[in-house]
Symmetry: C2
C-alpha cells in the first residue's frame, strides 16, 4: 500500500473526527490487518477475535473507507445506469428494483440521463468509465450509431443492455418479447371487429419500436388486413410526438377505430391529443397501450395493456450484471414475456 | 503520491488498452505534469502547448482517471441521493432535474432507495459516506428519529434536505409552502358549498404531511367548520394506505363530499379505493390532490391540484448543494410556492 496515502487518510479521519482502523484495532487488542481481514470476511479469523473486532467496530461506529479500499482492489462496487429519462415510469420502476438488488450486494448505482440524445449516451459512458464503474446497465438512444458502438467497444467494464440489440456487439441483455404481446393485441382487436388499427411508437433505430412495428405488420398480415402507412406513426418516444400523432390520426378522413400506443411518454401525449379532439376512449376508439403502469390501470375507462414484468426486468438486469462481475464471462441474454391484459378501453365494434 | 498505486494504475491501463498520461505526454513532447496542468485548466501553460496537449488527448482518446484524481484532491465529485422510492413520480422528476444540474457541473449522482424505512436511511447515509460522496440530497423517512439525527451529525459532507425539517439540525433545505396551497384548496371547496371535507396524507413525523394536517385544520377553523377526526387519515404515504382510507371514508354513515389527497402514491391507492366503492369523482365526490403529475392531468375528469414546481425543487436542491461544495458554509433554506390549479374534479354542491 502507498504509505503516503494511508497517512493522508489518517490525517483526514482525525480531522473529521471519524474513528480510524487503528483505534478499532487497539480497542479489540488486535493488529490493523486483523481488522481488515474481519471486514473483508476472510475465513482465517477465529470466531472469538471476529466477535471482538465487530464489537469494537460497532462501539466506535467505525466506517471503512470504501473509496480507498476500492482503489486498492481495482473495484469501485459501483454500477453506471444510463437511461434516456429516469422520470419515465418504466425506467424509474427498473431503477428502483435494480438499485434494491445492487444495494443488497454492496453495490451503488450512479445515475446518468441522456435525454434521448446519443451524444449524451457517449458522454455518460466516458464519464462513468473514468469514474471506474465496474459495470453498466444501458438503455441507449440509438442502436445504430457508430460513435456509440465504438465507445462501448473500448470499455473494459461489464455491461447489460435494457431492451437493446446492437449490430455486431455481443453483450448481455434483458429483452422483451414484443412480438407475442403485439400479436395478442391485434388478435384481440380483430376479434372485436376492428380493421382500421393504428400504431404510435418510437423510432426504428430502437429495438422496442422496431419490433413493435414489425410484429404489428405481421399480425395484421396474418388476418389478411392491409396496413395503410398513414396509420403508423413512428419516430420518437416523447409525449409531444404522441400528441402530434393522435391529432393527425383523428384529422384523417377515415380515422382508425383502434389504436395501439407503444411508449409511456407517448401514451401521456396521445391521451392529451385524444382529449383535445374530443375522442372518447372505449366508445369512439379502442385503445391498447404498452406497460401496465398506474395511468393505464386508473384511467377511466381502464386501459387494455400489453404488459411485461417491469420489476423482473430491473431485477434480472442487476442479477446478470452481478453474475458477470462475479467472474462469468459468457454474455447472458434473457427475453422476458409480454402478455395482454384486457380492460374496458377495448370494445366490440 | 503513493508510487505503488501509480504503478498499479499504469499496469491496469496497459492491460485494458487505455492510453496512459505518459503516452499523451510523449505524443505532445511535454512532461506528464504539463498534461495534468492542461487537464486541470491551470493558467500557467502557453496556448501553443495547451493546443498540442489537447490534440494528443483527442488523438489518443485519453480519459483521465477521475477516481484516482478525486482521491488525491479529496473530492469524489459525487453526490448521494437518498429517497424513499425513486419510482414515486415526485422523486423521479426531482432526480431527473437534479442529475441534469449535477451532470453539467461534472458531478455524478449515487442513488439510494430507503423504501420509507428509517434504518435504511441510516444505512444509506453510512454507505454513501464511506464512498466519500461530497454531499447529500436527502428525503428522510422519519424526521424525529434519534439514530438518523446522530448519523447526520457525524457527517462532514454537505447536505440539502428535500422538504424536511429536523429538530435541532441547521441544514440547507428546499421546502414547499404547503400551507398556502392547502388554504387555497379549502377556500375553493368551501366556496363550492362543501363542508364535509376529508384529508388523506402521510405520517406526522414528516414535514409535508404534518404541515398539510395543520393547514387543513387551520383553514377549516377559519371558515368556522368543525374538523371531525374520523375524516383525517394520516399515517403513511403508501398506495395501500390511500386505498384503505378511501374505503374507510366511504363506509362511514355520513361520508365526506370532498377529499384532499396529499401524496402521489396515496392518490393511486385512493383512486383504486374510490373505484372499488363505485364513487364517481366530479359527481359523488370533489377531489383535490397534491402535485401536478400526468395522472392528475389525464384523469377523467381532470383532477384539481395543489401544484408546486417539481423541476424547480430538483434544480434548486442541486444548485444549493453545488454552492455549498463551492465553499459557501451558510445554510440556505428556500421555500417554494404551491398554488391551486382548478379542474373538473371539484364541483359545486
Amino acid at each position: 500500500m502507498g504509505g503516503k496515502i494511508d497517512s493522508k487518510r489518517q490525517a483526514r479521519t482525525v480531522e473529521t473526527g471519524r474513528p480510524t482502523i487503528r483505534q478499532v484495532a487497539d480497542r479489540a487488542s488486535v493488529g490493523t490487518s486483523t481488522v481488515s481481514r474481519v471486514l473483508n470476511d476472510s475465513p482465517d479469523v477465529s470466531p472469538a477475535v471476529r466477535a471482538r473486532v465487530l464489537d469494537a467496530v460497532a462501539e466506535l461506529a467505525y466506517q471503512p473507507d470504501l473509496l480507498a479500499s476500492s482503489l486498492r482492489k481495482g473495484s469501485t462496487r459501483t454500477v453506471g445506469f444510463v437511461v434516456s429519462d429516469i422520470a419515465n415510469p418504466l425506467f424509474a420502476d427498473i431503477a428502483r428494483v435494480a438499485e434494491e438488488t445492487f444495494q443488497r450486494a454492496g453495490y451503488g448505482i450512479l445515475l446518468w440521463n441522456s435525454h434521448g440524445d446519443s451524444e449524451r449516451d457517449e458522454a455518460g459512458i466516458a464519464v462513468l468509465a473514468s469514474r471506474r464503474v465496474d459495470g453498466f446497465i444501458l438503455s441507449l438512444s440509438d442502436e445504430a450509431r457508430a460513435e456509440t458502438l465504438s465507445a462501448l467497444s473500448s470499455l473494459s467494464a461489464a455491461l447489460v443492455l435494457l431492451d437493446r440489440d446492437l449490430p455486431g456487439v455481443t453483450a448481455s441483455a434483458v429483452l422483451s418479447d414484443h412480438e407475442r404481446g403485439m400479436k395478442a393485441g391485434i388478435d384481440h382487436l380483430v376479434e372485436l371487429g376492428h380493421e382500421r388499427i393504428a400504431l404510435i411508437t418510437g423510432p426504428l433505430n430502437l429495438r422496442p419500436s422496431r419490433l413493435r412495428v414489425e410484429a404489428f405488420r405481421k399480425a395484421l398480415d396474418a388476418h389478411d388486413l392491409t396496413v395503410p402507412d398513414d396509420l403508423i406513426g413512428m419516430g420518437s418516444f416523447t409525449a409531444g410526438f404522441g400528441e402530434h400523432c393522435a391529432h393527425r390520426l383523428f384529422g384523417l378522413e377515415d380515422p382508425p377505430t383502434a389504436l395501439i400506443v407503444g411508449g409511456n411518454r407517448l401514451l401521456e401525449g396521445a391521451l392529451r391529443g385524444l382529449q383535445n379532439r374530443g375522442i372518447k376512449i372505449g366508445r369512439d376508439l379502442a385503445l391498447i397501450c404498452c406497460d401496465d403502469l398506474a395511468l393505464a390501470q386508473l384511467y377511466s375507462p381502464p386501459i387494455t395493456v400489453i404488459a411485461r414484468d417491469i420489476a423482473q426486468m430491473g431485477r434480472r438486469a442487476a442479477e446478470i450484471l452481478l453474475e458477470m462481475l462475479g467472474g462469468n464471462t459468457r454474455p447472458i441474454v434473457e427475453t422476458l414475456p409480454t402478455e395482454l391484459v384486457v380492460r374496458e378501453s377495448t370494445f366490440s365494434l
